[in-house]
């Protein structure tokens, strides 16, 4: 809660609604990687706004997951510059390797595959977002290593 009050203190008196996007990020991190209606209601109650105001925002921005996701979320960029450098092949490889389609989660709940639009790192293509970091210049071998690394994480 200390973090919450620090975030709210960034804005002038009465403008606490501005904390909504940072608090939804925080809620997603804290409550299992996705935003349930209960999490959104909770954030709304902290900011003293209507729950609908939180839903409105959560449904607009693509980084909020409105359904449960696997423990490791692969968000692979597929926009122009990544496509020129073989992102289609990487996406196909991950699909085959994990035996899931885009938007699906493996049966053990470990991995979810999502395609995303431009991550703003086109010089390092093809790439994906994994947690708070990017994994760049992806190859099939690198994908194997990343999957292994995730499996070994407790």
């Amino acid at each position: 809660m200390k973090e919450v009050s620090e975030i709210i203190a960034r804005y002038p008196e009465g403008k606490q609604k501005s904390a909504l996007i940072p608090l939804l990020h925080l809620a997603q991190e804290e409550f299992g990687g996705w935003l349930s209606p209960e999490s959104m209601d909770y954030v709304a109650s902290i900011l003293n706004i209507e729950p609908i105001e939180a839903y409105e925002v959560a449904t607009f921005y693509s980084m909020y997951n409105l359904q449960p996701v696997g423990k490791h979320l692969f968000e692979v960029c597929q926009t122009g510059p990544c496509m020129l450098n073989g992102s289609d092949r990487i996406i196909d490889y991950i699909k085959k390797k994990l035996n899931i389609g885009v938007g699906e989660t493996t049966a053990d709940g470990m991995f979810t595959l999502k395609t995303v639009e431009c991550l703003g790192a086109c010089g390092y293509a093809p790439l994906m977002q994994l947690g708070k970091n990017y994994r760049e210049h992806l190859t099939e071998e690198k994908v194997d290593a990343i999957i292994e690394e995730c499996r070994n994480k407790k």
Partner: protein, 449 residues
């Protein structure tokens, strides 16, 4: 010759930290500026000829001079770090490697504009950069360059970092302001402009990361000296992010006097096309600006050498030119399919349309679907005309420029590569197995070996 003024020190070891940055001459511009009258700083920026580095290229000094200053109403400076234009990753580089340069520029600019509370709105995906910026802010504060009574001048300023959450549209300044207020990123109808009514209805200036960083050298060398770098109305240096099919993708600082050919083929910059392939096409300023075939990229329609600056890149208008845009330089080699590439951009804009204006909301979806159809060998000749018709009906008919940004890439692809679209329609099976290649563009490419 490459003249570096923003990234000159970016590779000094430890430059990310205050001690090294300060030792290398950092924060001198703050010491200088805080002794000046704020309006004199705005004048320096005007004299420098600096143009907004986010994409629109609007003169920064002029934008600053529009800021309303009613008594008793706070004013805000917001730094636009929502870098999302496909092909663009220059601000990320600057913030990641030399964050204090941005913080220094922000302090001077905040003083010039009278902002005591300044925000950096950064795209949500750049999560690790938030920590880098917050560390730089904490260090600057610890050394008296931020906080209360900065350097004993009585000027108070705090800088806060706000993370977005995945929305290209929030790079549009009024959508950014909406997002910063904790709402959906729907652009506002202008006027009123943010300079009059922006963040929390107060006068606000929104500037790109690179623009605000450039305020540092402008203060240090003076506006007139800065204006001597570059050519014509393209003053100063520009960061370019180069990607696609080139040997050396990355971020380059140029002084806007080099030719496009030199930029692509010189080892100092992109280092040419990998595997001995030929250059087919290029989008020189981020995905929204028109794609050009190699012949029109390297030379203008008049046959003159094309240079990497605002005027030369747009020479010929949309008929035969393009734009400097955000500096996102995307290169396509002979093996690439323009239809497929355009489809990925159409998909991007469909995904990123906020949905407020029907021409954009509906039109971007239609364009993606039709491009997909043609790309997959299921298109008809009439689909090409339909695409043209749709893009024309989006352009200029929306609240914000996202509609134009979605229309232009499709228009330019058809304008310059119509034969490739027709080939897809005429060869529905072959187009699934192979690409169209260079065809007639290659004949005009005597420059490229």
């Amino acid at each position: 010759m490459a003249k570096k003024i923003l990234l000159e020190k970016a590779h000094v070891e430890g430059i990310r930290y205050y001690d090294v940055y300060r030792r290398e001459g950092g924060y001198r511009s703050v010491e200088k500026a805080l002794k000046m009258d704020p309006t004199a700083i705005v004048e320096e920026v005007k004299k420098s000829g600096l143009r907004g580095r986010g994409g629109a290229g609007f003169p920064t000094g002029m934008k600053w001079s529009f800021l309303a200053k009613p008594e008793g109403v706070p004013r805000y400076l917001v730094c636009n770090a929502d870098e999302s234009e496909p092909g663009t990753f220059k601000d990320r580089y600057l913030m990641e490697f030399i964050p204090h340069l941005l913080i220094e520029g922000l302090i001077v600019s905040s003083f010039a504009l009278g902002s005591n509370r300044t925000y950096i709105y950064i795209r949500g995906e750049y999560a690790w950069i938030v920590a880098i910026l917050e560390q730089a802010i904490a260090e600057a504060k610890q050394h008296g360059f931020l906080g209360k009574n900065i350097l004993g001048t009585g000027f108070d300023c705090e800088i806060y970092v706000q993370r977005g959450a995945g929305a290209y549209i929030c790079g549009e300044e009024t959508a950014l302001i909406e997002s910063l207020e904790g709402k959906r990123g729907n652009p506002r109808i202008k006027p009123p402009f943010p300079a009059i009514k922006g963040l929390w209805d107060c006068p606000t200036v929104v500037n790109n990361v690179e623009t605000l960083a450039a305020v540092v050298p402008i203060m240090n060398m003076g506006g007139e000296e800065y204006a001597k770098i570059g050519v014509g109305r393209s003053t100063g240096t520009k960061l370019l992010s180069a990607c696609g099919n080139i040997n050396k993708p990355g971020v380059y600082e140029i002084d806007m006097t080099i030719s496009v050919e030199e930029f692509i083929f010189s080892d100092e910059y992109c280092g040419g096309i990998p595997n001995g392939k030929k250059l087919k096409a290029c989008i020189p300023g981020g995905s929204s600006v028109p794609i050009l075939p190699a012949n029109l990229l390297l030379k203008t329609a008049k046959g003159e050498t094309r240079y990497m600056n605002y005027e030369s890149l747009s020479d010929g208008g949309f008929a035969s030119g393009s734009m400097m845009g955000s500096g996102g330089f995307i290169v396509l080699d002979e093996d690439q399919c323009v239809v497929r590439h355009t489809m990925t951009l159409a998909r991007f804009y469909r995904h990123e349309s906020c949905g407020q204006c029907s021409p954009c909301r509906e039109g971007t979806g239609w364009m993606e679907k039709i491009l997909n159809k043609i790309e997959n060998g299921k298109g008809a000749m009439s689909d090409i005309d339909l695409l043209w018709d749709i893009q024309r009906k989006i352009e200029g008919n929306t609240i914000c420029p996202l509609g134009d940004a979605a229309a232009w890439p499709v228009a330019a692809a058809i304008r310059h590569f119509r034969d490739e679209f027709e080939w897809h329609v005429n060869n529905p099976e072959l187009c699934l197995q192979q690409n169209y290649g260079l065809a007639n563009y290659a004949n005009e490419l005597s420059l490229v070996s």
